[in-house]
């Protein structure tokens, strides 16, 4: 199981698309969005840092599903099924791969915030932000897996991109929610991305994440988890 995790993490990190889209992009967008216009808004730099780290984590988490779809096409999943590995180990290994591969995105955006943008937080706040963003990315990994098991490689890529961009924008990961009209702001409060970022933001502001955020994220976790399981069962017949 650990071997499988190691193999899949290696394969993911060798994917140039993943490194550019999942790590370099969020860092660049963060630096761009916070330094354009020359404003010196410390609060926005911190909030955007969390938002972009969250955006990068969501992208990487969803990317796991792209990997699954690819494995389906190449026959790798089929080959795994004729080794002594159980399908539960394979699925769990993939989910764990997803949760490991979100770390580079989170860490690099936080590093860019601390080193380039001069964001200052207590040590525990850095650690807690990273940890919460890491844990909070799990629903997105499951969403990606659900897409990957269900769809072809191409449609998974498109579905992941739509989920990623849509949820990121509506959830306020790119632009401050204050810019949104009132109705969109209330929709935003129910998106997993918004609550996901809230986990990190609350820590940077020195308080525990609200119950609302935890409740909404848990609901999404269950929903995306069931989606992944149902998709996997469907695919087991054709893989």
């Amino acid at each position: 199981m650990f071997d499988y995790l190691r193999l899949e993490v290696r394969r993911t990190l060798r994917d140039t698309g993943f490194v550019i889209g999942g790590v370099a992009m969020p860092v660049m967008m963060y630096l761009l969005f916070t330094n354009l216009g020359g404003g010196d808004d410390g609060a926005w730099r911190t909030a955007s840092m969390v938002g972009m780290a969250a955006y990068g984590a969501v992208g990487s988490a969803l990317n796991t599903g792209g990997g699954v779809a690819e494995d389906k096409v190449t026959g790798w999943l089929r080959q795994l099924r004729v080794t002594p590995m159980t399908s539960r180990q394979v699925v769990l290994g993939r989910a764990l791969t997803g949760s490991v591969t979100v770390l580079p995105a989170i860490v690099s955006v936080l590093v860019a915030g601390g080193l380039v943008n001069g964001v200052r937080l207590d040590a525990w706040q850095w650690a807690a932000t990273a940890l919460l963003l890491w844990l909070g990315s799990l629903p997105f990994t499951l969403l990606g897996l659900g897409n990957g098991y269900r769809m072809t490689a191409q449609t998974t890529g498109i579905a992941n991109m739509v989920c990623n961009l849509g949820l990121a924008v509506v959830g306020g990961l790119w632009f401050p929610l204050a810019l949104f009209p009132g109705w969109l702001r209330s929709v935003s409060a129910y998106t997993p991305t918004n609550r996901f970022a809230e986990l990190g933001v609350s820590v940077t502001e020195g308080r525990a994440p609200g119950l609302g955020a935890v409740a909404v994220l848990t609901a999404w976790l269950l929903a995306f988890g069931s989606y992944a399981v149902i998709s996997y069962r469907r695919s087991a017949r054709i893989v």
């Binding site: 071997d3 193999l7 394969r11 994917d15 190449t74 002594p84």
Partner: protein, 325 residues
């Protein structure tokens, strides 16, 4: 002008093989593979239509058939990748999944593309590590002829190289049963030769090998037994020699020269008649009797008698206008 060539059937050279090797795993006397009336339907297509097949421990068996004969579906069933709609498929006396889970099976699947972004060494080590008693990775790489590619990425190899890597993957776990679906399709002559050499090495060490192919020569040269599959069922089962005999041992051909072809099938020994233009080809299991009968009718222009090839046997066994064999 009448000329006859030898009428004795071609003999094949003796082949080294381990016909009486003991089974590798302690699973009693159950055969390595047993299909009993297995049926698998996809939509309207009965890909496997009542397949009965047994492969004993230590045997090397070829599954021979045209494309679409049901070979790959049969292999999916025996690997537990698919469930039969009817009948049963057993490996070592139990459900296929159990044997796969226990590491008794290694397989090379058809149409698998290279796993992206992983090196040969990483891939083979990983697969070997899933099995309870694997081959040393270097040994698996050597047997498959990919030792010098160990550090290369699998998705950057040529088709033939990638196919050899898939062979290494099948061998890596040192399984008791090795299943190979069209194992030599992308190999050049030299690689093919090396491949069969390694496979024979495995067979000698007591492994059961089941491979599918549509190359007759391969099946004849490298298997203890050939199982001919057509339209989802077994139509013949035996050594190459037995198949040649069962399909009619010799081929008698001559120019019709205006003679009517209708009654040729009634001549002694004749089992099949084929007319191509002016030339008639009779498959016969008693060429002497056939030739005498033809001579009585004066049908001896450019008469020729040759042993039926395995190709002829295969064509006869799988020709679709003959329902029974």
């Amino acid at each position: 002008m009448t000329r006859t060539t030898g009428t004795t059937a071609r003999t094949t050279a003796g082949r080294p093989r381990a016909t009486s090797a003991p089974p590798v795993t302690g699973t009693g006397t159950a055969p390595a593979v047993r299909f009993r009336g297995a049926v698998k339907t996809f939509g309207d297509v009965r890909a496997v239509a009542g397949l009965d097949l047994e492969v004993g421990c230590g045997e090397t068996v070829a599954l021979l058939g045209r494309n679409g004969a049901g070979k790959s579906t049969a292999i999916s069933l025996l690997l537990g990748l698919d469930e039969p709609d009817e009948g049963s498929v057993e490996l070592f006396g139990g459900r296929p999944e159990e044997s796969v889970r226990a590491g008794r099976v290694g397989a090379m699947l058809q149409d698998a593309r290279p796993v992206p972004r992983v090196t040969v060494q990483e891939l083979v080590s990983f697969v070997a590590g899933r099995y309870p008693a694997p081959l040393p990775v270097a040994e698996a790489l050597r047997l498959a002829g990919v030792a010098e590619l160990a550090g290369r990425r699998v998705d950057r190899l040529s088709g033939g190289q990638a196919q050899r890597v898939r062979f290494a993957v099948a061998l890596a776990g040192n399984p008791a049963l090795i299943v190979l679906d069209e194992p030599t399709a992308a190999l050049d002559v030299e690689a093919r030769h090396a491949f069969w050499e390694s496979m024979r090495d495995r067979a000698r060490s007591g492994r059961t090998v089941l491979f599918s192919t549509h190359y007759l020569e391969e099946a004849d040269a490298h298997a203890d037994r050939i199982v001919v599959v057509d339209r989802g069922r077994v139509v013949a089962n035996g050594t190459g020699e037995e198949l040649r005999r069962s399909a009619g041992g010799n081929l008698v051909s001559f120019d019709l020269a205006g003679l009517a072809a209708e009654s040729l099938g009634l001549l002694p020994g004749v089992v099949a008649v084929e007319v191509r233009g002016e030339r008639a080809r009779l498959r016969t299991d008693d060429s002497d009797a056939t030739v005498v009968a033809l001579a009585e009718r004066g049908a001896i222009r450019a008469l020729e008698v040759v042993p039926a090839s395995l190709d002829d046997a295969f064509m006869a066994l799988t020709s679709h206008d003959r329902e029974t064999v």
